[in-house]
Symmetry: C2
Subunit: 312 residues, 2 copies
Amino acid sequence: MKYYLGLDIGGTFVKGVCVTSDGKVLAEGKCDTGCENGGAAMCDNIARLCEELKAQVNGELAGVGAGCPGMIKSSDGVVKFAGNLGLKNFPLSAELSKRLGVPVKVTNDANAAALGEALFGAGKNYKNSILVTLGTGVGGGIIIDGKLFEGGESAGAEIGHMVIERYGEMCTCGRRGCFERYSSASALTRRTKYAMEEDAGSAMWGKYTSATCTGKTAFEFMDTDKSAAEVVDWYIRYLACGLINLANIFRPEVIMLGGGVAAQGERLTKPLQAIMDREIFGGNDYAPVTVVTASLGNGAGAIGAAALCFNK
Amino acid sequence: MKYYLGLDIGGTFVKGVCVTSDGKVLAEGKCDTGCENGGAAMCDNIARLCEELKAQVNGELAGVGAGCPGMIKSSDGVVKFAGNLGLKNFPLSAELSKRLGVPVKVTNDANAAALGEALFGAGKNYKNSILVTLGTGVGGGIIIDGKLFEGGESAGAEIGHMVIERYGEMCTCGRRGCFERYSSASALTRRTKYAMEEDAGSAMWGKYTSATCTGKTAFEFMDTDKSAAEVVDWYIRYLACGLINLANIFRPEVIMLGGGVAAQGERLTKPLQAIMDREIFGGNDYAPVTVVTASLGNGAGAIGAAALCFNK
């Protein structure tokens, strides 16, 4: 039996998984990233993890894929820049291949997660899908006709850095008003903090302070507190704006929401769908776009990385 | 010799062209659209034009393609809705095929123009390009890896309907702040009008009134009049915002500007390139995106329509 090994490289841990081409998980595990000791040391750790996983599976390893944060050039597997890992122009694919004895495909971690969700998660019944992750930033990936779309030189699909408010908040990318300044979990937390500070009578103060509130706080109190409800409404309207932009450009069959905020499920997808149906270009009779919650959670990245081996 | 016949259907005229697969024009002509008499009468006119063009060419007609304004479902060649032509759910491909005796491929006119520019115009040396037309609205089309990308069910690529200013001007699509509300020739004219009305001393009054100014007026006076220069600056900044959004998502090698405003050439592309290089995600060392003026003018649509026959 052929199987594929997928790696999801994070700032702290590397997750590894052995899967078949139909997404059946045969083995999984993790190791410390250890990137504080440099890229070579990280690759040594990853190689050990791979050997452990391979030892658990009876079959033929047909390929290895890795999702890595930062700017990745997938054509040659070089990490152009990954601030979290302290890597710059690091030949990840070559270094891993050398240790593992097989070719290693590499992409951005958000792209890998999108591919995993698209093939084996919430997008598995669709050929055109977009994963939008609502975490520290807004990331994601785009699947066109069943294939991962990374943009020219694998430098595109930076959906969090689409300006939706021309004179809006300053973004880390140097522009103002990027989608992720409004729709990330961080943005939601920040807005909740402001709302609490402006409303001394808010029920949110009963459980949180403006220093301890999170992206969950406003959702928790939305049914009982006006300020909390306003925060949720603000968040959903901006998120809808960015999602409809993507829908008008790609017209996918489905937009999948991942990341921490997506755990709100229908509290998020129901109102988003209503706005989508009302505002999408050309109306909803014509190729509807469905908003759903991603289903693989943190596992999407490693499975999607394995899928790099047979998706292209 | 094999050749292809391309049709660019407009509200008043239909342009037709016979071309080889390397873009050599063998014959061209036009006819009245005549859509006020209905879709069947329009197709009769188009069929006559096709016969006239075929009579001028010595070769084998290998395919017919048509670009049509409105919402087109390219998979079956049905015009879902074309307000300008008064057509709704009209089987354009089937009606033309019946008259011409060959299959007819159909797409949106902006997509056809993008394909023409990409294959035979300003994009011919690139595999990934976007045409952005700055006319009454903002239209365009997207070429990925040499192929026209129309979005799911050919309902995507509506780049003019990407919100860049969340609480901005009302758009015909029902949303606020769409790219085309700021970057169309109409928006430029409107802004010029406001600028004149607010500046009684503007040099623009020497030649125009606020009723006769056009999208060219501010460019004409930008070197000699502060208000005109401000209008141009305003226009370029919004246009850059939308183009950089597209660059961050698709990372094409080239963005081509078409439509009336694009005639400004380097007065537009030079400052846009400077902003692009400064603000594009990840910087310009990594897969630069070049902003150029489209080169085929109004001819792009018909040539691109012919190219539908061999692009997919």
